[in-house]
């Protein structure tokens, strides 16, 4: 089809491609500058605020921050906080998505619309009353309280995603299970969840990654330093030593970011880019 076209068009196409390449590379370069600072400074013991190639690259910054106090405790706190909250979110979302995807009733549509509506609410705005409420009921500065709130805040989106995934599973399979006398729980556990595997993985990873990066919620709800997750401790670290040790700050930022970056790579491998998530958001 293309070869049958006149030659000049082809060259125009090439020209256009080169122009697009140039424009994209310019944008990519601009976006890459802060990332370059992150990588180069982490290898530079005398890092400043500017991007520069380290005189003698070393891993000293990493060994300086790899201590209990700076890295291991906060990362472990993050893992416990976000891990438990994710488990709760995914379990509740999988349970809730099943009837919403399978049964029709007068209230399932309003319920779904409410869920979708709360997906969009700015959670930041709820944080002041949540703080006040947590003080009243003595949940302030508790990891489980914070985890419960984190779980609830991510739940609407998780339900929505999970329901969309479940909608894609043919009903024939569970009808067979029902005829064999399986209960809804057995059907969900033995038939639906294994089939929704990729969907559950995506929801789990996505929820975990969002929580891992969340700063405002633990920043407000957790107070004692030994309970702070990495997202908040990095802030105290920066406030206290950052002005002197930019290299260490960069090294710690890399350590803290690596898990989420890896997880995103994992989902995008599974779904061919973040496009599926974009599609899920679109409805």
């Amino acid at each position: 089809m293309r070869t049958s076209r006149a030659r000049p068009l082809l060259t125009r196409r090439t020209r256009r491609r080169l122009a697009a390449d140039a424009a994209l590379l310019a944008v990519a370069a601009a976006f890459a500058v802060p990332l370059a600072w992150l990588v180069l400074s982490s290898l530079d013991t005398e890092a400043t605020l500017r991007v520069r190639v380290p005189g003698s690259p070393s891993l000293d910054n990493f060994s300086a921050v790899l201590t209990d106090e700076i890295t291991f405790t906060p990362m472990l706190n993050s893992l416990v906080l976000c891990g438990s909250a994710t488990a709760l979110t995914v379990a509740c979302a999988a349970l809730a998505a099943y009837p919403l995807s399978r049964y029709r009733s007068r209230f399932s549509r309003p319920y779904l619309l409410t869920v979708l509506f709360s997906t969009c609410l700015p959670i930041t705005a709820v944080m002041v009353p949540v703080y006040a409420l947590f003080v009243q009921v003595n949940l302030i500065d508790t990891v489980y309280g914070t985890a419960l709130f984190l779980a609830a805040s991510q739940l609407p989106f998780a339900i929505w995603l999970m329901k969309n995934f479940m909608d894609g599973i043919p009903r024939v399979l569970e009808e067979a299970a029902w005829t064999d006398g399986a209960s809804w729980f057995q059907t969900l556990w033995r038939v639906i969840l294994p089939l929704t595997g990729p969907g559950v993985t995506v929801v789990t990873i996505y929820t975990f990654a969002i929580m891992w990066g969340n700063f405002f919620v633990p920043f407000l709800l957790l107070l004692s330093p030994e309970q702070l997750p990495a997202s908040v401790s990095i802030f105290t670290f920066f406030g206290n030593y950052g002005a002197i040790a930019f290299g260490q700050l960069a090294a710690f930022s890399i350590l803290y970011s690596t898990p989420v970056v890896l997880l995103y790579v994992l989902i995008s491998r599974r779904l061919g880019g973040g496009f599926a998530l974009g599609g899920a958001v679109k409805g």
Partner: protein, 305 residues
Amino acid sequence: MSRAAPTTTAYGTAGRGARPRRTALLRWSPLAPATVLLLLFLAGPIGYCVYIAFTDMQLTGQESASFVGLDNFRHAFGDPAFLNAVVLTLVFTLISSILGQNTLGLALAALMRRASRPVRTVTGAVVLTAWVLPEIVAGFLLYTFFERRGTLNAILDWLHLPSQNWLFTLPILAVSFANVWRGTAFSMLIYSAALSEIPQEVAESAEVDGASGRQRLWHVTLPMIRRSIGTNLMLNTLQTLSVFGLIWAMTRGGPGSRSQTLPVFMYDQAFLKSLIGYGTAVALLLLVVGALFSVVYLRLLREEV
């Protein structure tokens, strides 16, 4: 059990007659944990938010809060600091979400369809990395970029252009660009998906008819992806309205209050000035704006379904 159960049962008995009440109840019981969690930790705080927005609750040194009616709101609309925050939030949203993320995301998605594969992969990876990094890390990175002794000024010096103390002279612009850096990938993903759904023939026939690039964009491409534009603008704006960590890490709302958007203002009033009631009133306004956007978004989706 969820509040919804009786409705279902009624429906079940009326609709199918023979179906026992218990089955319907059992069927919907998996909804219970999620509903309880959402009611306790999401609906609860929102309800509480509405309540304390009308009280003079403070963080410390107060026996009990008393009902003050609309005082907090009246106070807000006469408070220059609040109006400043509203204006800054509008500027921040306009620059970073509507002009920045949205336009740049569309441009990137469109260019990527023409570009060669390696360039597309590299650009995609860089832009997505900026999106994936935790908010606080992004805040630090952009802080070092815009700081007086930071990279941006180094580049400007190198180009023999006048340097600026960006975080001091134009803090709202700096944080807006930071938000563009962080959020463009999302728009890019949405628009990539939307553009790939435009049938090839449509674009080609327009080209054969001699439509210029700009004409094709305006008369063919944009009308065909208008739903995605709506969705994207809505979600971007909602996300931008609640940005806190990024601004807090870069400027803490300063210098003075020159990058104090509504979430930062809310935090400042509620926790640094201990005026929980007033801070919540501001939060409620933010929530209402967010809710309005959500409703519009739902309308858009409903049209699509």
